[in-house]
C-alpha cells in the first residue's frame, strides 16, 4: 500500500499521534484501533513513529526484575507479623449521608466510652500490661537463632550466608536490626560456620535451643 502525505497538523493526524502509544501496546478499543490503523496506513510519519515505539516496547519487554523476591517477602512478612494491624475496613461503600444518621449514636457512645475509661483509670486496680502482636508467636517459636548482619553486607552475602548453613529468616529486622532465623541444624558448629560467613556480624542461639 502506497502511503500518502497528510498535513501534520490535521486533526486526524494529531489524534492518531496521541493514540499511537496505546495502538502499539494493543490496549485501544476496537473503534480507536481501527481508526488509528486506517490513518497509519496512509501516513508515513505515523508509520515511522509506530515502528520506533514498537522498538522501544520490545527493548523494554526483555528487562528483568532484579530484586530478591524471597528476601523481600521475608522482610515484609516479618513486618506484618511484628505489627498487630490486620487488614482494616474503611466505610467507603457507605452512602454519602449515612454518617449523619449515625452521628448522634456515635457521639453518645463515644461519651460513654470516655466516661468508662476515666472510671477505670481513676478507680481500677493496676494490671499487668500485655502486648502481643498477631502472628508474632508462631514466628518467634519457629526461630532457633538470631543474627545481625554488617551494615555494609549485600543482599547476596546475606543470602549466601543463609544458604551455607541451611537457614531461613522467619522474623525481623528487630529494632536492633537483628533477624530471627530457623536453622535446620542449630548445633554450635553450624552457628560458628554462620558467624564465619562474610557479612555476618553476630549470631546467637536462642535460649531453648542452646539448652538442648
Amino acid at each position: 500500500m502506497k502511503a500518502r502525505i497528510l498535513p501534520l497538523d490535521s486533526a486526524e493526524h494529531r489524534s492518531a499521534q496521541d493514540l499511537l502509544p496505546w495502538f502499539v501496546n494493543g490496549t485501544l478499543d476496537a473503534a480507536e484501533a481501527s481508526s488509528v490503523a486506517r490513518h497509519i496506513a496512509a501516513c508515513e510519519r505515523c508509520q515511522k513513529d509506530a515502528a520506533e515505539q514498537a522498538q522501544l516496547r520490545a527493548s523494554a519487554s526483555a528487562m528483568q526484575a532484579t530484586g530478591d523476591l524471597e528476601r523481600d517477602w521475608a522482610l515484609l512478612r516479618s513486618r506484618i507479623e511484628a505489627d498487630p494491624r490486620a487488614p482494616t475496613r474503611r466505610r467507603e461503600g457507605a452512602s454519602p449521608g449515612s454518617w449523619r444518621r449515625w452521628l448522634p449514636f456515635t457521639v453518645a457512645l463515644q461519651g460513654a466510652v470516655i466516661l468508662a475509661l476515666a472510671v477505670v483509670l481513676i478507680a481500677g486496680p493496676a494490671r499487668e500490661e500485655r502486648y502481643r502482636a498477631l502472628g508474632a508467636q508462631p514466628a518467634v517459636s519457629e526461630a532457633n537463632a538470631v543474627a545481625v548482619f554488617r551494615g555494609d553486607a549485600t543482599s547476596g552475602q546475606m543470602r549466601d550466608a543463609l544458604h551455607a548453613v541451611g537457614a531461613r529468616i522467619v522474623g525481623g529486622p528487630t529494632i536492633t536490626d537483628a533477624y530471627l532465623l530457623r536453622l535446620n541444624d542449630p548445633t554450635p558448629q553450624v552457628l560458628s560456620r554462620l558467624r564465619a560467613q562474610p557479612g555476618v556480624l553476630r549470631v546467637e542461639a536462642l535460649q531453648e535451643e542452646a539448652s538442648r
Binding site: Q17, D18, L19, P21, W22, F23, V24, N25, G26, T27, L28, A33, A37, I40, A41, A50, E52, Q53, A54, Q55, L56, R57, A58, S59, A60, S61, A62, M63, Q64, A65, T66, G67, L69, D72, W73, L75, L76, R77, R79, I80, R85, A86, P87, T88, R89, R90, E92, G93, G135
Partner: protein, 200 residues
C-alpha cells in the same frame, strides 16, 4: 495491523481478564486476613512492581523500600479495595504515590550506574550484548525525564496499560496522560539520538 506490532488482541484480552478475576479473588481473601493469599499476590506483583519502580525511581535501594511499603499498604488497606478499578491499577496507584513521596524526601543524586544492573549477569552472544546496551541507553534516557513523565512512559511501553488505567494510577485526566507520553517520548527520542548507538 496490530499483528504487525506483535499484538494478538483477542489473546491479550482473554489472558488479562482471567488474571484480573484471579486478582479480585485473591484480594478478597487478603481482605479476610489470609496471609497465604497475600503471599501469592506478593509473588505475582513483586516482579512487575520491581520493574516499574526500578525504572521510575532509578535507585535500587529505594525500589526495595518502596516495594515493601507498597505491599504493606496493600495488606493493611485490602478491605478498602472497592472494585471500581482493576486490582492492578489500585496496586500500581499505591506504588506510584509511595514512590513519588520517597523521591521527594530524597535529595541525593540519581545513581547513573543503576543502568548497569539492567545488563544480564550472564552475557551471552553478541546480539544479547547489543540488546543489553540498547536497554541501558533507554534506561539512561528515561532517567533524564521527570518522575511524572517517566512513569507514564514506563506504564505505557513496559507494562502495556491502557491510557485510562494510567490516568487512574497517576491520578490525572486522560488528556494529561496523552500529553505527558507525547512530550516524554519526543524528549526520550532526542536524548537517545544524542547517545551514540542508541535505540529508538
Amino acid at each position: 495491523m496490530l499483528r504487525h506490532f506483535g499484538i494478538d488482541r483477542k489473546a491479550v484480552t482473554s489472558t488479562r481478564r482471567s488474571a484480573e478475576d484471579a486478582d479480585v479473588a485473591l484480594i478478597g481473601r487478603v481482605a479476610a486476613g489470609d496471609l497465604r493469599a497475600f503471599e501469592t499476590l506478593f509473588r505475582i506483583y513483586h516482579p512487575r512492581l520491581d520493574r516499574f519502580l526500578g525504572l521510575m525511581t532509578a535507585r535500587r535501594t529505594l525500589v526495595e523500600e518502596v516495594l515493601n511499603d507498597t505491599m504493606l499498604v496493600v495488606w493493611r488497606r485490602s478491605q478498602t479495595y472497592n472494585g471500581q478499578s482493576k486490582v492492578s491499577t489500585w496496586i500500581f496507584a499505591i506504588a506510584y504515590r509511595t514512590a513519588l513521596k520517597a523521591l521527594r524526601e530524597q535529595d541525593e543524586p540519581v545513581d547513573l550506574d543503576a543502568a548497569d544492573e539492567l545488563s544480564s549477569e550472564d552475557p551471552g552472544p553478541e546480539q544479547q550484548l547489543m540488546a543489553d546496551q540498547i536497554r541501558a541507553q533507554v534506561f539512561r534516557g528515561l532517567e533524564a525525564l521527570s518522575a511524572e513523565q517517566r512513569s507514564v512512559l514506563v506504564l505505557t511501553y513496559f507494562h502495556d496499560l491502557p491510557y485510562h488505567e494510567i490516568a487512574r494510577i497517576v491520578d490525572c485526566p486522560v488528556d494529561t496522560v496523552k500529553t505527558r507520553v507525547f512530550h516524554g517520548r519526543r524528549r526520550l527520542r532526542a536524548l537517545l539520538q544524542r547517545d551514540p548507538g542508541a535505540g529508538p
